[in-house]
Symmetry: C2
Subunit: 155 residues, 2 copies
Amino acid sequence: MAKKIEVRAPDTEIAFGVLPELIGYQLRLAQIAIFRDFETTLGALDITPGLFGVLVIIEANPDLKQTTLAKATHLDRSTVVSVIDSLEKRALVERRAAENDRRSNALRLTPAGTALLKKLKRQVALHEKRLAGNLNDQERATLVRLLRKILPEHR
Amino acid sequence: MAKKIEVRAPDTEIAFGVLPELIGYQLRLAQIAIFRDFETTLGALDITPGLFGVLVIIEANPDLKQTTLAKATHLDRSTVVSVIDSLEKRALVERRAAENDRRSNALRLTPAGTALLKKLKRQVALHEKRLAGNLNDQERATLVRLLRKILPEHR
DNA sequence: TATTGTTATACTCTATAACTATA
DNA sequence: TATAGTTATAGAGTATAACAATA
């Protein structure tokens, strides 16, 4: 009788215990995969998923103040300072004086920021398409819907 | 005619542009929410989702070597060194001499590690239940299945 | 030559606490 | 008193490059 052939390489013969059934674990893996694909696609432009989100939010909310941005991104106020510092250094965002409140900054994209974001959006669309390559439109919508359902707002 | 009442607080009147339609963005939000819930549940035990995964994998693969663990966790070999350093310092894991290869370490949970992991698994089950509180069994299974589909192995 | 684990080092992302200037 | 932004600082988590021991 022929011996069973070992199909998998030794290093991949690994048991993952309970992990594969955990939402948190699968989410983690998906996140890693997405981050790496994002990096491959957009790495040359030196933008992470987080920075992309910040640019989109600033564009969609002209004269946004930093504290509001912090809430929207789930970041601390102090973290936003350094994020905006770096985007301002790259001349993608500017801090203007807010009209009503002299404590606040009013954030805006510079023309360069707007131009870059336009390019980024095209790249992100390709990235999304690649990610969702195995999903049909309905599955894609379902995935987004189910992900929303686990957020605390919906609990 | 009565004026329309503004339901949301000023700070939440924020536009998110294209973000809510992006799988990557929803995944990011879900990840943040999960990490925070995990921390709340398991913070006292000083274990992150990543460390939990490492413990599970070591338990499920006795005498695992570090390089294999690195592949399984998507971490660099050098990163695994410090992860195991810290788990060893906490007496949860031990590095034994491997039998066939004097370069390798054979990783094992200590009795304390096994005991802690048992406790962790119970907590993680509660955590998962809370996360999936809004999902029925079928939705939960669908979510896991769709998440798997976006991993590179399935592309 | 290649692999295993290690070290030294550094970078990114993030938060906390204390400060200042306004409100 | 409370809020907006800032600074100084620190911690977690990660990677790269070079190395010694072993295969």
